[in-house]
Amino acid sequence: MPDPVNRDAIAVRASSLSKSFCMHLQGGLELPVVEGASFEVRAGECVVLGGPSGAGKSSILKMLYGNYAASSGEILIRHGDAMVDLAAASPRLVLAIRRETLGYVSQFLRTVPRVAAVDVVAEPLVARGIDAGTARERAGLTLERLNLPQRLWQLPPATFSGGEQQRVNIARGFITDHPVLLLDEPTASLDAANRRVVIEMIAEKKAQGVAQIGIFHDEEVREAVADRIIDVRGFAPAHAA
């Protein structure tokens, strides 16, 4: 690691973040899902978003990735030397932040036809300018660690089981050294052995100073990784149904 980790450094700061969907096909129905979410996450910290389903955990995570547009509020992310407001950033800046700063491990893999699993995993490294051979080698090591049988590496993941696809996804998300990582139920369909591997990988990221924000329904994983739990019920809209 090049720099010693400054654990006081704020990596992500959300302020008064709100999200409301306007459903034009339902006569303009307003559906508020998050209101006034404010929290900070520091380098090396793993913060878990807690609360029952439907409380807005996923919506918050998607806003943090720029996948959902925030209705109001700010999402400051340390990108290089500056704090940048992701909620107000241009699409090109959001893409640059995703390439260099902000990683995401989703629950589901959106597969590209015909691309081999090992290349799906290596792609974020190649996008950051690492040569294809090295990227593949590292992809192989990560897949090996997650116990994905080597005979599957050269196959496109579209036909894999849920758990196998998820391991491809995890490998892809963890392979880079993004300083901020969003984890959307990365262990949902894994067996106990692979859950333990993911717990280890999250701990290593913490040691490297990566700020992680995640959703984990599995209590064992949550207990093992969370430094802090943010109860998103505190951000429930006042007039939510």
């Binding site: 034009h24 959902y68 959001v94 640059a96 036809p113």
Partner: protein
């Protein structure tokens, strides 16, 4: 760290095109940067093809400006260039992939000649080199070397489309326009072509403007997208944001109309 200080490759400002009283497209402005893939989506009649033709000098706009940054770094207004300059640009720095390969290929000359012709247009004269480059490009688009002397008439639809792509990319363009590049192909052939296009765009760092009515194509290929309806832009933004959290009523309708398999 990322500096977003580069100047756009293509810059469109206040572009409109009328057909008599009827609006083709109205007051369109956007920019495309090097290495970026922009999708223009909308249903037929939304004005997306009119827009594509206006920005690729195939159709003169009624109003507005399209400027392009030349290889020497200077940005030039396309419609203030001479016809000869525009032609040179189209032959060297640009590619145009038509929906129907027959519109972009010469059907009665060999596959190798289809690719070689673009090279000769930029001044290559050495027969051996032309043939080698053509063979290389055919293999990049997954056409077997022993088909080099066959005419595209003898090719399947998917092969013709791949040949058209090779013909366009052989001169190392910086910007490629694509009009429904997977339209009219079987689904399995579409997937193969999309994967090929995605790989080529990534490897070559091309900028591309892809017109499509297929949101899955936009999702897979593009970084940003523009949604058009009745000749206007109703929504634009990061591709996954537009598709996962559409804001405009029309985009919500489009996204909710996708068939799930």
């Amino acid at each position: 760290m990322t500096m977003l200080d580069e100047t756009p490759l293509l810059s469109v400002t206040g572009l409109s095109r009328y057909y008599g009283e009827r609006v083709g497209c109205r007051d369109i402005s956007f920019e495309v940067y090097p290495g970026e893939v922009l999708a223009i989506v909308g249903e037929s009649g939304s004005g997306k093809t009119t827009l594509l033709n206006c920005i690729s000098t195939r159709l003169e706009p009624s109003a507005g400006c399209v400027s392009y940054r030349m290889r020497d770094g200077e940005s030039r207004d396309l419609y203030r260039m001479s016809e000869a300059e525009r032609r040179l640009l189209m032959r060297t720095d640009w590619g145009f992939v038509h929906q129907n390969p027959a519109d972009g290929l010469r059907m009665t000359v060999s596959a190798g000649a289809n690719v070689g012709e673009r090279l000769m247009a930029v001044g290559e004269r050495h027969y051996g080199r032309i043939r080698d480059t053509a063979t290389h490009w055919l293999s990049r688009v997954e056409i077997a070397a022993d088909r080099i002397d066959d005419q595209p008439r003898a090719f399947s639809g998917g092969m013709r489309q791949r040949l058209q792509i090779a013909r366009n990319l052989v001169t190392g363009p910086r910007l490629v326009f694509m009009d429904e590049p997977t339209g009219g192909l079987d689904v399995s052939v579409q997937a193969r072509l999309l994967d090929l296009l995605r790989g080529l765009v990534n490897d070559l760092g091309l900028a591309a403007i892809v017109v499509t009515h297929d949101l899955a194509v936009a999702r897979l290929l593009s970084h940003r997208m523009i949604v058009m309806k009745d000749g206007r832009v109703v929504e634009e933004g990061l591709t996954d944001r537009v598709l996962d959290d559409p804001q405009a009523p029309y985009t919500q309708l489009l996204v909710s109309s996708i068939l799930q398999v």
